[in-house]
Subunit: 133 residues, 2 copies
DNA sequence: CCCGGATGGTTACCATTCTTCACTATAGAG
DNA sequence: CTCTATAGTGAAGAATGGTAACCATCCGGG
């Protein structure tokens, strides 16, 4: 993905933000911070850069004067839909050759692994929290 | 992995370098650059930091006076084997619950996906090379 | 109504990772 | 012995992300 992204003159993080914005429509930077799993401070920098590139605008929030709504420009919307098409094409070329039953059991296996990984991460996160205070 | 790594007072990149060094034994920085898929210049910085932490030493290459051999200290070796144990334990907890046949077909499916992904990457890499000159 | 705590965003500062370009020193082929 | 390729580094900078301090605004309980 990084290759295709760089070809469009974007960095991975900025693209990730555009992608989320494409999924959710205009949202506050807090929402973006949560979606991207970064701090609100980091969102500020990414939005600054994208505003500078004319891919995003900051609009005032209609009811909360503290917040800003980040919105895709039409240029960015075209770009995001191009990314989405590329993503779907890649996914198809990776998984289409698998037989249906083969794909299903593969997906089930992967689901199990992910569940166990999440469990493990939650457990170790609790441990480090207990180690701090 | 990043969590477990930080708990040992290491950064991800530096740990990756130690890991590779653990797999290969003493090697030149060129070899490390290739293994880590970064430029030789970046290796210099990582090795500098690890020398500062007493985890690695720079030894002169026996036959090539331009090159240096990067070597793990005993402290780093203990640390790497601890990482390896953690890695194996995690892998077991993720995959052990799968039945043998289930695991086999999962692994086969994953292999296929990876092969197709590599093919795709190679193709797009050629495209961007053709676009440059 | 208003006061105090919570929330949204930003300024300032720093660490990490990695890159490109220029340069030195050594190897090795012809 | 010269010419080129290779190993490593200095300088400068881009991108990503974090913490701490701070301001403006929101909102609920007195």
């Amino acid at each position: 993905m990084t290759q295709a992204i760089a070809a469009l003159g974007l960095t991975p993080s900025r693209t990730h933000l555009l992608w989320e914005l494409g999924q959710r429509g205009p949202v506050t930077q807090q929402v973006l911070a949560t979606a991207l799993k970064i701090t609100p401070r980091a969102v500020t920098g990414l939005v600054d850069a994208l505003v500078g590139s004319g891919l995003v605008t900051r609009e005032p929030h209609p009811t909360d004067r503290r917040a800003t709504l980040v919105t895709l420009t039409s240029r960015a919307e075209a770009l995001v839909s191009q990314l989405k098409r590329g993503h779907e094409a890649l996914a198809r070329s990776l998984f289409a050759p698998m037989a249906r039953t083969e794909f299903d059991s593969f997906a089930r296996g992967l689901d199990g692994v992910i569940v166990r990984l999440r469990t493990h991460l939650a457990a170790t996160a609790l441990e480090s929290q207990r180690a701090k205070p």
